[in-house]
């Protein structure tokens, strides 16, 4: 299984970290945010990196999952897992219906349409007070239990969110290396040629849109239970743009690129806090510098450079 050796090491590290640093704030608290963001970035990368279809509305699906869980469990007393499934079903239908007309658009127009979609959903979260609790959101979600074990501590959440994140990374790696993944890349490379190879491009785009939305929705449900609280600003268009930035920062089209991009953008604010008023400025600066000097994205550029160095050394010796 050479194909997944990288993944295996990555998984081992993630799972061992809390054992080595059991009470470290960065592991058990920040780690949870990172896992959610990594999952979202990886799912967005399927659409953006593989299929080449930009989405500035990914946070909407994340939010729909979170709100479905919150509303269904609190207002209707549904079992959390059942609520999660209902949320996923809702997003499945919604994203499927929307995918065809939206994905007919290209480039900036697609960006606009997905942005609009995200903002409409966000406005709904803010304005439908009776259902969503308005800007204050909803708090007090019931505890999620897995096989009878309540997930009620940071460390338990660590393993739940970590597992889901690893699963999404594994799916993403598998897809990249498969018939479906190649069809996506083909759509990205040349839609006309993809069609001539017998690929139903509209269907392929629509499926990955739905798949990616579903991954985000479930992440949203888990996030809501972990935070024990939902409020609209976690799902605003700013967050959608942040997700896009994560994907591009790490390296469009690379699963581990998305992982790295999400990791860096989640950890940066934590580290930059010490700069107080300069935080925003430095954050912007770092983002710019990375993209200027590594325009293919941090991970992809570094990997390519490492590969060049290695091949030089091999040919030199």
């Amino acid at each position: 299984m050479k194909r997944l050796s990288g993944f295996a090491i990555f998984a081992a590290v993630c799972l061992l970290l809390p054992v080595i640093f059991p009470d470290n704030y960065y592991v058990t608290v920040v780690g949870l945010t990172i896992f959610v963001n990594v999952t979202l970035a990886v799912s967005l990368n399927l659409l953006m990196g593989y299929a080449g279809q930009i989405s500035l509305g990914h946070a909407a699906f994340f939010g729909l999952g979170a709100y479905s869980s919150a509303i269904l469990t609190i207002k209707y007393g549904l079992n959390p897992w059942l609520a999660m499934i209902f949320g996923a079903a809702l997003v499945l239908c919604l994203s499927y219906v929307l995918s065809r007309p939206i994905l007919r658009l290209k480039g900036h127009y697609l960006a606009m349409a997905t942005l609009g979609l995200g903002i409409i959903v966000h406005i709904f979260f803010v304005q439908a007070d009776e259902l969503t609790g308005g800007p204050d959101g909803i708090s007090g979600l019931p505890t999620l239990s897995l096989f009878g074990v309540p997930i009620d501590s940071d460390i338990k959440w660590y393993f739940v969110l970590c597992s889901y994140m690893l699963l999404s990374v594994l799916f993403s790696l598998n897809i990249a290396d498969s018939r479906a993944g190649r069809a996506l890349s083909a759509v990205h490379g040349s839609e006309i040629a993809a069609q001539m190879m017998g690929i139903d491009t509209a269907k392929v785009k629509s499926y990955i849109f739905v798949f990616s939305a579903l991954m985000a929705t479930i992440a949203g449900s888990l996030f809501a239970h972990q935070q024990d609280f939902v409020s609209p600003e976690s799902f605003s268009f700013f967050f959608s743009i942040e997700l896009v930035t994560m994907v591009v920062l790490g390296g469009l089209g690379s699963t581990f690129g998305a992982v790295m991009g999400a990791f860096i953008l989640s950890i940066l604010p934590e580290v930059l806090i010490v700069f107080e008023d300069f935080e925003v400025l430095i954050f912007g600066l770092i983002l710019m510098v990375i993209m200027i000097f590594l325009p293919e994205g941090l991970f992809v550029s570094l990997k390519n450079r490492a590969a060049i160095m290695l091949s030089k050394r091999e040919s030199g010796s």
Binding site: F171, N174, I175, D177, S178, R179, A180, G181, R182, A183, S185, A186, H188, G189, S190, I192, A193, A194, Q195, M196, M197, G198, I199, D200, T201, Y207, I208, F211, G253
Partner: protein, 251 residues
């Protein structure tokens, strides 16, 4: 037996008739070339045949089935494939991955099965790789298989498009100016390749400017001029046709 039949085909762009009242048939297992001066409508015809453009009027039959207006991927599913004048290689993939896309129609793993990587997917993946290697070998590209396509020289990219199309095992292969931009050696190689493709049981429809090549390998030649059929027949006959000579030399 007739593989492709075009009846009263017409395509208008604004006021301009790019193709007018064109009818012809392509029999199975031959190399059929379409020639004509620049702007005669050859690529437009290809785009009509593969449904990238919708015809204004007229109909197209492939394997006795009407395919007019079907989406391109459905036409591909029926066994038609093509290469492009302006290359449409997937530059974001490696050489072999490009060809593996060509195997799309010969494999069936879906998105979910791929994500979970079912055992059947793993098996199929091996098979697809083997088929792709076969097509690469056929086109003489084996040594480049793991290179990123973006790094290949122009001549190889043209071959890559052919390999990709072949991997889908088409009945009919449309080749749009395969020799354009190639040097003499490369053209000679191409000539051999096209012949071998035809010998393997694939009908070839060729748009080409290189007359030597066309006359050497084609069984039938069709001449387009201003979107109209000027002449059609075996190469020797076409070469002697006064209308064709006039069209090429200009009035």
């Amino acid at each position: 037996m007739t593989l492709l039949k075009v009846k009263n085909l017409e395509k208008q762009f604004g006021g301009l008739k790019a193709i007018s009242d064109l009818s012809f048939s392509v029999p199975e297992n031959i190399i059929f070339s379409i020639i004509g001066p620049n702007g005669a409508g050859k690529t437009t015809l290809f785009n009509l045949l593969t449904s990238i453009y919708k015809p204004s009027t007229g109909s197209i039959f492939f394997k006795d089935k009407e395919i007019t207006g079907l989406p391109p991927f459905k036409i591909a599913r029926l066994g038609m494939s093509r290469t492009f004048q302006n290359l449409q290689v997937f530059l974001n993939m490696s050489t072999i991955e490009n060809v593996m896309v060509g195997c799309h129609l010969r494999s069936k793993a879906g998105l979910l099965a791929s994500a979970i990587r079912l055992p059947s997917v793993i098996r199929e993946e091996k098979e697809v790789r083997r088929m792709a290697e076969e097509a690469l070998h056929f086109c003489g590209l084996s040594e480049y298989k793991d290179r990123p396509a973006a790094g290949l020289p122009y001549g190889l990219l043209k071959k890559l498009e052919v390999a990709r199309s072949l991997a889908s095992r088409p009945k009919l292969l449309l080749m749009d100016e395969p020799a354009a931009g190639l040097n003499d050696t490369e053209t000679r190689e191409l000539c051999q390749l096209i012949k071998r493709i035809c010998e393997s049981g694939i009908t070839v429809l060729l748009v080409e400017h290189n007359m030597t090549l066309v006359m050497e390998i084609s069984q039938r030649v069709l001449v387009l001029n201003y979107g109209r059929l000027l002449a059609e027949g075996p190469p020797e006959q076409i070469q002697k046709n006064p209308d064709v000579i006039a069209a090429y030399l200009g009035e």
